[in-house]
Symmetry: C2
Subunit: 398 residues, 2 copies
Amino acid sequence: MTDDVAVAAPPDSAPRHLAPGDVGLVAPRDFVYTQPFAFKSGQTLPGFTLRYETYGQLNATRDNAVLICHALSGDHHCAGWHSPADKKPGWWNNLIGPGKAVDTRRFFVVCANVLGGCQGSTGPSSLDPETGRPYGVTFPFATIRDMVRAQKLLLDHLGVSQLHCVIGGSMGGMQALLFGIKYPQFVRRVLAMATTARESAQAIAFNEVGRQAIMQDPAWNAGDYPKDGGPRVGLAIARMMAHITYVSDASMDRKFGRRKKETASSAAYNFDIQFEVESYLRHQGQSFINRFDANSYLYITRALDQFDLAQTYGSLEAAFAPVEAETLVVGFTSDWLFPPEQNRDLALAMLRAGKRASYAELATDLGHDSFLLESEELYALVRGFLERDQPYTFDFAI
Amino acid sequence: MTDDVAVAAPPDSAPRHLAPGDVGLVAPRDFVYTQPFAFKSGQTLPGFTLRYETYGQLNATRDNAVLICHALSGDHHCAGWHSPADKKPGWWNNLIGPGKAVDTRRFFVVCANVLGGCQGSTGPSSLDPETGRPYGVTFPFATIRDMVRAQKLLLDHLGVSQLHCVIGGSMGGMQALLFGIKYPQFVRRVLAMATTARESAQAIAFNEVGRQAIMQDPAWNAGDYPKDGGPRVGLAIARMMAHITYVSDASMDRKFGRRKKETASSAAYNFDIQFEVESYLRHQGQSFINRFDANSYLYITRALDQFDLAQTYGSLEAAFAPVEAETLVVGFTSDWLFPPEQNRDLALAMLRAGKRASYAELATDLGHDSFLLESEELYALVRGFLERDQPYTFDFAI
């Protein structure tokens, strides 16, 4: 997902973290699991850490939790502000907060950085206690299932008895679907957006080019690089390319068109930045390398590529057979990475499997990242799905 | 364009270069222009070479010539075979030959590697006579207009009095359109396919990521590298990514889907090749770096990005005002690089400008490279457009 689709900040004069509807200042915490954890690959870790945030309060019956699952480049910080000086709030701040679509007065919202990630959870950039150096590519191969299992252990640790809902877009949607499959008694609602039961060849192809850009960068060094080093050039290239797939031709044309930078006259006949879209892409690449680990990028894109519900379970209907949750799948018309048909097909397979499922398609022109956009239509869908028949009538004081 | 869309070769036992309808063995020639050539940028060269091929014979009135303009990664070898040992014929061999849609019994077909290219024509990899070293980025910035002007000088040299038609797909289509605009008395028909009056922000963005992959490769060395060296890694990354934009999601899914390599079981939990589409893409990248110069890639993508008829002439209608040629524009439904609408808009602007123009849209699922596909529908369109009202009733003996 992009760095700058999140809700626009109000003018600097306003104390943004105190804006009505925001969860305000939040702080991440670490869940340290100290028992051996076996990955789907057969590899094990002696334990792991998940960095997570929560907003709202768990109710007495411990069943008002809403788990938010993040996408490839996301993290646990999905709402609120870490400090009044932050330039941006959490990545889904427009959706989550007191009175918002995911209403933190009603729900206990949990979001964790995935296993294999690089924002505080254990991943390839974590230090291997046996060597004192980053795991690098010796880190166990993490699948979407492994990510889901680790988050279930976190929810157990938090004392959640049942998930009111699990919500995610893109890779988060894959996790949401798998939560419903693996823990049918535990998950009451699944809300998956801009996702797929398996990537197409084109999506795999884009991920592979990104991986090649990283692995062919000499600084990758077979995954063995210091924390502040690594294949920054390759990672920036991967991000620039991937970013194009997160938006749409129409939205890029509206935002940049063929407008040229003011300095472009001197650049007309060389290879400096000439078009605004070039400058924007380079910014996307540069800001990404300062916050993301290249090996995590390799691991997580591989997890995405390998996710294939029909192959794993024999068919989509067989995959969804155990599901008890009500499911809502939301597709976006301009999403060409995980196109609307792939989202619709999820709901159709669930219906064929005799499950309560629905599909909503929103007309947008922002592409794959549409699930992050400010959209009253999306908010209403989410609110309606979360609050329908829900028993929580109390209002927590924040 | 891709390396492998060209017509499939018959079984090895057949002498393929003698196949009926093929132009047979052909040899490139060099046109050496020895007068100063001023580029649109104001830079000059003391002269240049264009490598070209011709098929068929120029008639007595010297007006049966058909100029073929190639795309970004194409060259002058568009039909026939250089040697019986060749693995593939010229890139448009399915379209061009005796009795084919571009019938070499009727027409004198000319195709030249563009100025700025790297297949024999003068470009950044050519030796600067002043230094004895490759020009690199000191080569003048070449625009589509410069490419067109150089080809016009070749046609003058060949004694062509009038072009029966200029044909091109993608960047070749841009050249075809500009030929009609710059030399209205000289061009009788323009056939442009899978092209655009200007790239969208998304197309510029993909080109920019490719350029960054090249320029950030340390081996690029600010464009100064030996003939056999250079940014091979960056160029391969650029090509892999660009290749995805030349085909379609549907065609990749049909060709590869999620099929895994036979060796994939061992690769399931590492970053080796796992899916067939990965192997295919790496092959595309590797074969490209053995035939293409990275600096040429920078120059030609920049020329593509800068092409903008409406901006150059004030409007598309103003751009087409001088055109005398009949024009046929062909778009392909699955082309998401230069989508059908952008092709249709060319013909519409010509019609608004009072020109004889038509638009044909072919339903394909091969994406941008559809103009290279074997398609009886395309052949019939091309033949009909070339032979309608045409005065050449003679039949050359080949």
